[in-house]
């Protein structure tokens, strides 16, 4: 190869002459940012990101538009190019409109992937929903009850019809998980041998313990109380959070801990110094539990209680006597809890006294409403000034009326007393719920630096205190706040402890760039597109009258319908491409600030009208990849640029809906889109987006091209299919079949258990029974009517290994050569010795070919990837001729098109032979030498019968003869054996049947070539050896140790004919084939079908064994160029057995020793098929095993 050396950032690399600088940098691992470059396309230069500096050039140049030259010195990351790139990104983002991450997730202190877990619920994957929540919050059930719902305040649905009931959905997922037999627990990492002390068993401590334990650390959890839970247990009344449930959720955490020590008080029973000695790190989450007083003179008298103390007493089942009239002073959630608890304890009259008005109350509105419903009275703008005692116990409160003055530092209006407005109210008990502070004594003894408010001073991101190795989070840091905030801070602290223990520098969690449509108040309903208005579903509550009588939970959560409704209401604001968006990655990397230029005000309608492709022009960066791949690679042009300047937009042709254009649904535009502007329609009800659980590299078996696939697996489904760029076969290109037609894998008709005919009905039976009866019946037929009364048909979608076993089963167990493909291809030439075996042609030989002849196929329809390569050859100046019965989409590029009746193809080929002979254009001869008469006859026949002008044939021949590297592309099914032989004879005769040229047979069946090589053909043995080749028979006999059947086998058409006239009585059909004649299943014929999916004609079969699809198969397939490729499973087969096991068991049941011949074990790994084929010429080396196989085992 012609290479040049260039210096990239001081490193010398060798790259192809003539390649562009960007491709050179990318293939050598240099990260040059780009959006509009795709190796499948010509450089375009629209995004203006790939700027680099080349020594000797005054200005930065775009790498994609710069050709490499010897000795070029390039800097990829100078300040100048970084600045240019940043500005370009700023500009792009100023016209990029959409939400990367939904606003709810942004608002959640714990950063829960709310859209994701709601989608999981919507897709029926409730456990995955809980798992997703638990990535950020280990107490979903608890939080689903007590959270003040920061997320819902930001829900976009607020501007339509009220927020989605996120919290109730979280509760649903949490409860579902708790009720499950095995609640979700992520795999904990191996023992780190580090020990960590977690002080405090409240939400902060529990969270820290959970994440630390999962990281493999030995956690000891301390709490001063008799039970864990902290404020969750003592501060929140039973009717809001049942303690049973709290216990369950806590238990999941304590199960992970090394030790739990209760009743030990920090600072009293043990000190920080001791902890630091005994443990490698310490987490402090001691909360903030000291109730504040009003500061009145005699507020320490009997009858006056502190809110938090009161709630604790109640939860510890030692409720105080309250009397008839109870006052609660304060306006927070604790005040509401205290008031409602007082009601439940029997108080007749409960009055909440609050110094400001209702609007300023810090309690959440729902709590205030519920308190009101239950009969709590409110005295707003009122403040106690004096506690009046009688008999040493409180008797009345003197209060003063307030009015609101100027706003104070908290931005609430400051209450000001109205002089002289004092009045008295009689109470039996007063509960002061003014607020809580950190216990000064405990905090003082903690030994870490405190703030002026006596809270612990920590680093915000890491929770690191003034003491090395000591971290803190929760209320003791923030002052009294919410559980979700404590949990969020504790998770971050756990992460910091993890890094501290590993001896790593602390790096704050990456804050990915987030694009936003705008703040809630800036948006109008129209900005959300047309959305159905659906009212918010509230949780089911018991009536206020009922609920005040008891401490039982009054909020019963959402009904099942409510859950469905709320899931449906979720707008899925976040971008579907959020996990793979290049724009977002770059914006994060370059720390783009959208403040300067603002965000886009453009609003294009989002199109969901295509079956496979969503188009959101608001997120388009006009890189042009979609337009170009549709035009340059697919030659369709379904998308184009419309308008000019800032108003430029990509639209489907003629402003039609995409589905009504020439669109072929190949999804290439989606694969080329660097943002979320074009996304594949999710197979899920709710699109997520989800991070895939696994990305499984495998091979497409929808035709014989052998495209590399990546199955993105979420749960038990394929969420998306992509193809690796720079792959050898398809270079990241896919067609509709590869990209979207995987959905049959999840068809509702998938068979899960074996079926056996019982009278008119099919009955589910065990595997043993089904296989047993199948074998028994087949043996019976064989012994009674002879082994040749049984036929075996195998689908070309099956792997080499399965095909090999199938022929072994036929030839040795059933002793018949009646084995063929369900889609036979012209292969007679392989079975006869007349023509030497065609040499190997790879698809990439097409690209460099100077003449391509396409016969009887429209590759643009059946083999789009092959068509792409043909177009590339034409673009490079190659000539193209198309012989086809109807117009093909390649015709416009063709130098010559010949229309002919497919039935007359042989005549045409024979005429060509005659021409070659007549004008002595070839040295050799054809199979049988042609006589002068034959030649004359064939030439005369041409215009009449074939209806092709002789001039055209001559033109075709001239093109063929003049070419130095001609390739003939034929459809393996469209030409019959005689035609194929004639064609090969021509190629052979003119000396064009060599390596890299000749005839390339492409097949509709994914593994048709593999079938022939594995011996699934009546006249071929494994390795492509001929049945009448004695040496090969001997060889096979020796290897198998068993005699081969001697009678000639029947091909598929012969078998079908034999079935009709009763010569064939038993049939074994392996693999899915929907084109088979259902007459086969008629009465009198015993059929065993190994198939994946139910279909109507199976109703007449006798035994059905549920098969695996390609997505459940490990093995290899051979594409039509002879490349052996890997199939990797993404799932377990629904029937529980893969096809190899089924075939092996059938073999055993037919009393064939599986160890004989090449056993199934031989196929472990990739060597199996190669062993069979030997070092055969023309077979390409097997693909390297792909990476990215992470956690497949978890799925299987």
């Amino acid at each position: 190869m012609n290479k040049v050396a260039i210096l990239l950032d001081g490193k010398e690399i060798f790259v192809d002459r003539g390649s562009n600088l960007l491709e050179a940098a990318l293939t050598h691992g240099f990260a040059v940012p780009h959006l509009c470059y795709d190796p499948r396309l010509k450089p375009f230069g629209s995004c203006r990101l790939c700027f680099v500096e080349v020594e000797g050039r005054p200005a930065a140049v775009p790498a994609c538009g710069t050709q490499v030259s010897e000795g070029m010195r390039v800097t990829t990351n100078s300040e100048r190019v970084t600045e240019l790139r940043r500005i370009a990104l700023e500009l792009l983002l100023s016209e990029h409109c959409g939400d990367c991450v939904a606003p709810c997730q942004q608002a959640c202190p714990a950063e829960i992937d709310i859209q994701g877990f709601i989608a999981h619920i919507g897709n029926g994957q409730n456990l995955k929903a809980a798992a997703l929540i638990k990535e950020k919050l280990p107490l979903p059930s608890v939080c689903g009850r007590v959270c003040p719902r920061f997320c819902e305040a930001e829900c976009r649905r607020n501007i339509l019809d009220g927020a989605v009931n996120v919290c109730a959905l979280k509760r649903f997922a949490g409860d579902y998980d708790l009720k499950a037999l095995t609640s979700y627990l992520p795999q904990a990492q191996g023992d780190s041998r580090f020990s960590v002390a977690v002080v405090g068993g409240g939400p902060a401590g529990l969270t820290a313990a959970y994440y630390l334990a999962l990281s493999g650390h030995r956690v000891t959890l301390f709490d001063a109380g008799p039970e864990l839970g902290g404020m969750l247990r003592y501060g929140i009344p039973e009717y809001r959070l049942p303690k049973l449930l709290l216990d369950q959720e806590i238990k999941l955490i304590t199960d992970l801990c090394q030790e739990v020590r209760l009743g030990e008080v920090f600072g009293r029973d043990y000190t920080l110094v001791e902890l630091k000695e005994r443990y490698d790190a310490v987490f402090l989450g001691i909360g903030c539990q000291s109730a504040q007083g009003l500061g009145l003179d005699n507020e320490e008298m009997p009858g006056i209680l502190k809110g938090i103390d009161f709630l604790r007493m109640v939860s510890e089942k030692r409720a105080p006597q309250l009397g008839r009239r109870v006052a609660v002073v304060g306006g927070g959630n604790t005040a509401m809890d205290a008031a409602r608890t007082a009601l439940r304890l029997g108080a007749e009259e409960v009055v909440v006294i609050y110094r400001r008005s209702k609007e300023e109350m810090p309690a959440s509105p729902i709590e205030i409403l519920e308190a009101e419903e239950e009969g709590v009275e409110f005295r707003f703008l009122t403040n106690p000034t004096l506690c009046l005692a009688q008999d040493g116990r409180l008797a009345a409160l003197e209060c003063i009326c307030m009015e609101l003055g100027e706003p104070d530092s908290s931005n609430r209006r400051r209450p000001v007393a109205i002089q002289g407005s004092e009045y008295q109210m009689e109470f039996d008990t007063v509960i002061l719920a003014i607020g809580q502070v950190v216990d000064k004594e405990i905090a003082g003894r903690s030994g870490v630096r405190l703030s002026a408010w006596q809270t612990m001073e920590v680093d915000r991101e890491s929770g690191c205190t003034s003491e090395p190795g000591v971290f803190a989070a929760g209320d003791c840091v923030s002052g009294a706040a919410t559980a979700v905030e404590a949990i969020a801070a504790a998770r971050k602290a756990a992460r910091a402890i993890n890094r501290y223990l590993a001896g790593e520098m602390f790096i704050p969690e990456e804050k990915p760039f987030n694009c936003s449509m705008g703040k809630l108040h800036e948006l109008k309903p129209a900005d959300l597109g047309e959305r159905e208005r659906i009212a918010r579903t509230p949780e089911v509550h018991t009536s206020p009258m009922e609920r005040v009588k008891t401490f039982a939970e009054f909020n019963l959560g959402l009904s099942r319908e409510g859950v469905n409704q709320e899931v449906k209401r979720c707008l899925s604001c976040g971008c579907e491409d959020v996990f793979s968006c290049t724009l977002r990655k770059l914006a994060t990397e370059y720390q783009v600030d959208t403040e300067r230029l603002g965000v886009s005000k453009k609003r294009y309608k989002i199109n969901h009208d295509h079956r496979f492709v969503n188009h959101d022009a608001n997120k388009c960066v006009l890189c042009g990849n979609c337009v170009r791949i549709c035009q340059e690679v697919q030659a369709i042009g379904a998308l184009g640029f419309v308008n000019r300047g800032y108003d430029t937009v990509v639209k489907p042709a003629m402003a039609l809906p995409l589905a009504e254009t020439m669109c072929e649904s190949c999804g290439q535009c989606v694969s080329a889109c660097p943002t979320g502007a074009l996304t594949a329609v999710s197979p899920f009800v709710k699109p997520g987006p989800f991070r895939p659980d696994a990305v499984v590299s495998t091979t497409c078996v929808q035709c014989s091209t052998g495209c590399a696939l990546e199955l993105h697996v979420v749960g038990d489904k394929i969420a998306r299919v992509t193809s690796p760029l720079r792959g050898e076969v398809n270079h990241g290109n896919l067609c509709k079949k590869g990209a979207f037609e995987y959905r049959f894998v999840h068809s509702s008709g998938r068979l899960k258990s074996p079926l056996r005919r019982n009278g008119e009905k099919m009955q589910e039976v065990s595997w043993e029974a089904a296989i047993g009866s199948a074998a028994a019946m087949l043996e019976k037929i064989s012994s009674r009517y002879g082994s040749d009364s049984i036929g075996v048909l195998v689908s070309p979608a099956l792997s080499n290994e399965e095909n090999y076993l199938a022929q072994k089963l036929a030839r040795f167990a059933l002793q018949t050569n009646n084995i063929d493909s369900t889609r036979p291809v012209a292969a007679e030439y392989l079975a006869t010795a007349a023509i030497p075996q065609a040499a190997g042609i790879s698809y990439n030989d097409l690209i460099t070919s100077d003449f391509i002849l396409v016969i009887n196929t429209d590759p643009t329809v059946d083999y789009p990837i092959v068509a792409q390569k043909i177009r590339q050859a034409v673009a490079k100046g190659g000539k193209l001729a198309v012989v086809s019965p109807q117009a093909t989409r390649l015709d416009p590029q063709a130098n010559l098109t010949v229309r002919t009746n497919p039935w007359k193809m042989l005549k045409l080929l024979q005429a060509i032979q005659a021409y070659l002979k007549r004008y002595e254009l070839v040295a050799g001869d054809f199979g049988v030498p042609l006589s002068e008469d034959e030649i004359k006859h064939r030439l005369l026949e041409l215009p009449g019968t074939v209806r092709v002008k002789p001039a055209k044939v001559i033109e075709l021949l001239h093109l063929y003869l003049r070419a130095r590297k001609p390739v003939v592309v034929v459809d393996g099914e469209a030409l019959d054996d005689a035609e194929m032989t004639a064609l090969l004879e021509i190629a052979q005769a003119i000396g064009r049947n060599k390596q890299g040229q000749g005839v390339l047979q492409v097949f509709k069946g994914g593994n048709s070539r593999g079938q022939l090589e594995m011996g699934v053909h009546p006249r071929l043995l494994p390795g492509g050896k001929k049945m009448d080749d004695l040496a090969a028979r001997m060889n096979y006999y020796q290897e198998a140790g068993l005699p081969l059947p001697t009678t000639a086998g029947m091909t598929l058409p012969q078998q079908l004919a034999a079935a009709k006239n009763g010569d064939l009585l038993g049939m074994l059909i392996i693999g899915d084939d929907f084109s088979l004649d259902c007459d086969l299943f008629d009465e009198g014929m015993f059929t065993v079908v190994v198939t994946s999916t139910w279909r109507a004609d199976l109703g007449k079969a006798d035994i059905i064994l549920p098969a695996a699809t390609f997505a459940e198969t490990r093995g290899t397939v051979t594409n039509s160029e002879g490349r052996i490729q890997q199939l990797n499973p993404a799932f377990l087969p629904p029937g529980g057995k893969d096809n190899l096991s089924i075939l092996c068991e059938l073999e055993k049941a037919l009393s064939l020793d599986g160890e004989r011949g090449i056993s199934e074990q031989t196929f472990e790994g990739k060597k199996g098929p190669q062993r069979i084929l030997g070092e055969k010429e023309g077979n390409l080396p097997i693909n390297q095993e792909k990476k990215n196989q992470k956690s497949i085992s978890a799925n299987i």
């Binding site: 450089p43 375009f44 230069g45 629209s46 995004c47 203006r48 990101l49 700027f51 200005a59 930065a60 775009p62 538009g65 050709q67 600045e83 240019l84 500005i87 370009a88 500009l91 792009l92 100023s94 016209e95 300067r596 230029l597 960066v621 006009l622 042009g624 184009g640 640029f641 308008n643 000019r644 300047g645 800032y646 108003d647 430029t648």
Partner: protein, 608 residues
């Protein structure tokens, strides 16, 4: 027998000024006298169209300007019949030099030699003026000799960038391939520029001849003229010229018997400014969306349909025949060391004598504006000159002695461009000017590359904000940053030059920007959000004319009593000012009292 010759200029500008009716009238009158009224193109004196030239039997030329139906017949009756020129609208005659003389004297009409003299629709007229002699001469030479002649002349591309023409031709002639193309770029898109149109309308054969010589020099046998569809007259005359050239075997097969074949095709563009860019123009001819692409490969290597292509501007081509015919030195005597020859400009704006002028390179701006253009029309001082159209730069009056050539203009941040020259006086707001040009380029960006597509929009938004009195302190810096990055980062010339008006106005008129941003004042009193109209009550006679003019009824007042303008409703359209006979309506800056934060947290000025 010697007779009077009468010529009337009939180019788009003359026709717009009513020349067609004058032609009809004169033609009829002259026919009776047996005199053939000759049609010519444009003389460039756009400020006094229509023009009629009478050449006396003695060969003396009398040029009449501002000819209308009323005075046209006087030319016949007084001058032709009576033999006495009608002095009152005679622009120039043997005994009268006048304004037209001042306009023409300083010019050097090398390229515009034929314009206004020959009949553009008659090849004989062109031939009589020495047409196609350049081609004959060229075809007698070798290709190298032709290119060498062009090299010696120092001719540089007149499309704007000033790339040496001989180099382009050399590259194209050396490029591999048998099929090569010549493209004439007649996609004249700058607002206010009409050099190409005028040449095509007045002397189309010179362009064809130039293309023929170029084609011969590089070995092309097909040429395209890419012309905007908005030039119907130019297209018609080109078609006539091509047909006539074919009839005379200057086009087609075996031209002049030297075995040289050449065909010319016309492609009408849909008027996208960016299609003046070479690669976008090629894409447009090929039937694709007019979007620029990477260079290299340059069109001289792989241009139209992937074949080597030389693209030159109309003006460049029009120069070629005379350079070849008269020799390189006839051209290179004009101009400066680096910029040889002459340059055609469309002189417009607040200048007394606007029109099409051709001057030697290196003439100063002052000479052009004051000596040829006759100074500022409003009588106010010169403020700035904008060269190079919407992507050129504003040159302040302080730099009026800058010679107009490629190097000098580049040095001060402006460009030559295709030849627009816009004169601005003190009444022009430079921020408003920058906004005007930017709003043009915003519309005309092809939308392909990030910097140009979004950058124009962002810069325009900032300018709109500034002129609306909502500018932020950092806006000027942002404009500069964006402008510099857009220059550095854009794909094609449009984007790379588009920030020029903004950057040069910031460079030379920064205080105007600052006045808008900080004081919320438009010093030129142009930006509508920052001005108020007021009637000076002492001077107002209460005539009510302004009330009638006001489209929104914002003026009220009793008859014969001073009127008042309701500032709330006033559109600041200026109709009242124009209507007032007593000049009592004045424009005042809006006084700004306080600034406060708006809902978005931006500081905005609040009017009193």
């Amino acid at each position: 027998m010697a007779e009077y010759q009468v010529k009337i200029g009939l180019a788009s500008c003359s026709i717009a000024a009513g020349a067609a009716k004058v032609y009809d009238l004169l033609n009829e009158a002259l026919l009776q006298k047996g005199i053939y009224l000759q049609r010519t193109g444009c003389r460039g004196l756009c400020y006094c169209e229509p023009q009629v030239e009478v050449i006396s039997p003695e060969g003396k030329s009398y040029l009449y300007g501002n000819v209308n139906l009323a005075n046209a017949s006087r030319i016949v009756t007084e001058h032709i019949q009576g033999g006495v020129p009608a002095e009152d609208f005679l622009l120039q005659g043997p005994d009268k030099d006048g304004e037209a003389g001042s306009f023409l004297r300083k010019q050097q009409r090398f390229l515009l030699h034929n314009c206004g003299k020959i009949d553009p629709e008659n090849i004989q007229s062109y031939l009589a003026a020495g047409g196609y002699s350049g081609l004959e001469k060229a075809l007698a030479q070798t290709q190298q000799e032709v290119i060498a002649e062009i090299k010696a002349s120092g001719l540089r591309g007149r499309g704007g960038a000033g790339f040496p023409t001989h180099l382009k031709w050399t590259f194209a002639s050396q490029a591999k391939g048998t099929q090569k193309y010549i493209i004439c770029n007649a996609d004249e898109g700058d607002p206010g520029a009409f050099m190409d149109r005028s040449i095509l309308e007045s002397d189309p054969h010179s362009v064809l001849e130039g293309m023929l010589i170029a084609a011969y020099a590089i070995g092309a046998n097909a040429g395209y003229i890419y012309i905007r569809a908005e030039y119907p007259l130019a297209i018609r005359r080109l078609k006539v010229a091509i047909a006539q050239a074919k009839e005379h075997y200057f086009l087609g097969h075996d031209i002049l018997g030297v075995g040289f074949d050449f065909e010319i095709y016309i492609r009408e563009g849909a008027g996208a400014f960016v299609c003046g860019e070479e690669t976008a123009l090629i894409a447009s001819i090929e039937g694709k969306r007019g979007m620029p692409r990477f260079r290299p490969p340059f069109p001289v290597e792989a241009g139209l349909f992937g074949k080597p292509t030389s693209i030159n501007n109309v003006e460049t081509f029009a120069n070629v025949p005379r350079i070849i015919a008269l020799g390189a030195s006839a051209y290179s005597v004009y101009g400066t060391e680096e910029s040889k020859g002459t340059k055609v400009f469309a002189l417009a704006g607040k200048v007394n004598r606007g029109g099409l002028i051709e001057v030697p390179m290196g003439m100063t701006i002052r000479e052009i504006v004051f000596e040829i253009g006759g100074g500022i029309s409003s009588g106010k001082p010169l403020k700035a000159v904008q060269t190079g159209g919407p992507s050129g730069g504003c040159i302040p009056a302080t730099l009026e002695d800058t010679p107009v050539d490629y190097e000098s203009l580049k040095k001060i941040g402006a460009i030559m461009g295709s030849g627009g020259l816009l004169v601005m006086d003190e009444e022009t707001c430079m921020v408003d000017v920058a906004k005007f040009f930017l709003s043009f380029t915003r519309e005309e960006s092809c939308g392909k590359c990030t910097f140009c597509r979004v950058g124009t929009e962002q810069m325009l938004r900032i300018l709109e904000r500034i002129t609306a009195g909502e500018g932020k302190e950092e806006d000027i810096a942002t404009l500069q940053t964006l402008g510099e990055k857009i220059q550095a980062g854009s794909l094609c010339g449009l984007g790379q030059t588009m920030p020029n008006p903004v950057l040069t106005t910031i460079k030379y008129f920064r205080e105007e920007y600052e006045a808008h941003v900080r004081d919320k004042v438009c010093p030129a009193k142009v930006c509508k959000a920052l001005i108020d109209y007021e009637i000076v009550s002492e001077d107002c006679k209460g005539c009510g004319l302004c009330v009638k003019q006001c489209p929104v009824g914002a003026i009220s007042g009793e008859k014969k009593a001073p009127h008042v303008i309701d500032a709330e409703n006033c559109l600041r359209c200026g109709l009242c000012i124009n209507s007032c006979k007593f000049n009592c309506i004045v424009v005042l800056s809006k006084p700004v009292t306080v600034s406060r934060q708006n809902a978005q947290g931006q500081r905005v000025g609040v009017m009193k």
